[in-house]
Amino acid sequence: MHKHTLSEMSRGLRSKAFSSEELTRHFLTRIERHDPQLNGYITVTGELALERAREADRQLRAGTAGALCGIPLAQKDIFCTKGVKTSCGSHMLDNFIAPYDATTVERFNRAGMVLLGKTNMDEFAMGSSNETSYYGAVKNPWDLAAVPGGSSGGSASVVAARLAPAATGTDTGGSIRQPAALCGVTGIKPTYGRVSRYGMIAFASSLDQGGVMTATAEDAAMLLAVMAGFDARDSTSVDHPVADYTAGLGNSLQGLKIGLPKEYMEAGLDADTAKAVEAALDEYRRLGAEVIEISLPHTHLAVPVYYVVAPAECSSNLSRYDGVRFGYRCEQPKDLLDMYMRSRGEGFGAEVKRRIMVGTYVLSAGYYDAYYLRAQKLRRLIKEDFVQAFQKVDVIMTPTAPTAAFNLGEKVDDPVTMYLSDVYTIPVNLAGLPGMSIPVGFAGSRPVGLQIIGDYFAEERLLNVAHQYQQVTDWHRRIPEQFA
């Protein structure tokens, strides 16, 4: 049952091939058996899942069930789930039971989806390997010695191992796309403002965006249809009509213009990754597309700009964690200052503290112009590169990551080396564009992902482009043997 896509599950539930309770129990059993090896879940909501499954079965029998009703889903532990622990992968929120549901959670609950649990993640979404979590590292199901990527490493890992048929994620500098690539699953980060951030614990407010990880683009389309839309409770939510994401999946790619940025195919790109990406482009040519070389000349500025903007915004967003109203409070504080310093010093992990400090520095008096203001100017230049490119091409394709998954422990000692693994994904967040990653092959035994970047609000096009490739290839159906 775990090999089914969401659309197959939907048909199965409707035709009574199985019930939601059976489907849910199947996944809960798999989680119990396999998750200890992966550490993909922080919290498994077994009782709640069965309750929701039974409710879904009632609706299915009554004929009032929507397409996704009764299908299990995992939520990244960054989304507030009412009555359920929401830790954001941090000691700071280890004791936090969310008093409300995030909009994303509400929407999936209303659609009748069954919450399996909250997935592991890099602490406060800061990381590219899921090694900074308070709850321990997550393993890549394709190779247990490898990282799954981050920060949505738990979501990617559980979908790849089919311990959930789909999972939500968030992406600030690549945190959906990069783990999707490293774990061989499909991931989508929509246009900035497409999905509500209400109840999605904030890291960098001008970059964060919620999305999903699934086995297929068709499944992603079904889920995005539920997630996307204006929300008055998110002041950065965009009031733009939501396209019918499943309607355009079958469109032919004849005449599609694909831009290949030369800056992304230069030195630093692993040879096996390049080969898999080139093979995918050949497949697209066979589907009728034309591949055109383009230039995004300010690409090299993206990582430096990001490591000013994101830490700056995170230092502001994480200032709410002060031991007063929620979260960790240190023992026996001497005075208020001591309470702030030690609650935060003890509650946050090293990477989070590093980024808060970088952010504090670049925003401090005397440095704001040289760093933050300058970064915002360069951010405009990076965005303009894309705007120019989309006048010539329909979509842009790149490798998602410069290499396949690296080994656990390999990059933890040098933050800058870790940061460079997001070189291809970061520009997309800076520009606010939608991006996907789909599996297109392997480098040795570790998956390789292709990134597809679209123009603003072109999620329908991205999903169509991904779906057509998945009709003529089968990378997306592969499951690591040990979890098959």
């Binding site: 005075d335 100017k377 965005k383 800076l430």
Partner: protein
Amino acid sequence: MLDKTQVERIAHLARLAVDEQDIPGYMRDLSNILALVEQMNTVDSAGVVPMAHPLEGKQRLRKDQVTEVDEREILQTVAPRVEAGLYLVPKVIE
């Protein structure tokens, strides 16, 4: 290269207690990150308008009417120390 005093000052501004023994590590890591960031200076950005929001969004405003309900009780269920609806902290005023 950031020195010890700078790191201590930043940590204080950020209200982060840092162990004495961890300071050299932070000096090194923060300096390396700032070196990465220095690459911004390889480009001339004179005359470029800073971009705060990818879609040039403007803050949405709403009517000045009370729409929120009092949820103090449920919101305080997650507080470390609460009494009579108040959040308790160590004494501030001498």
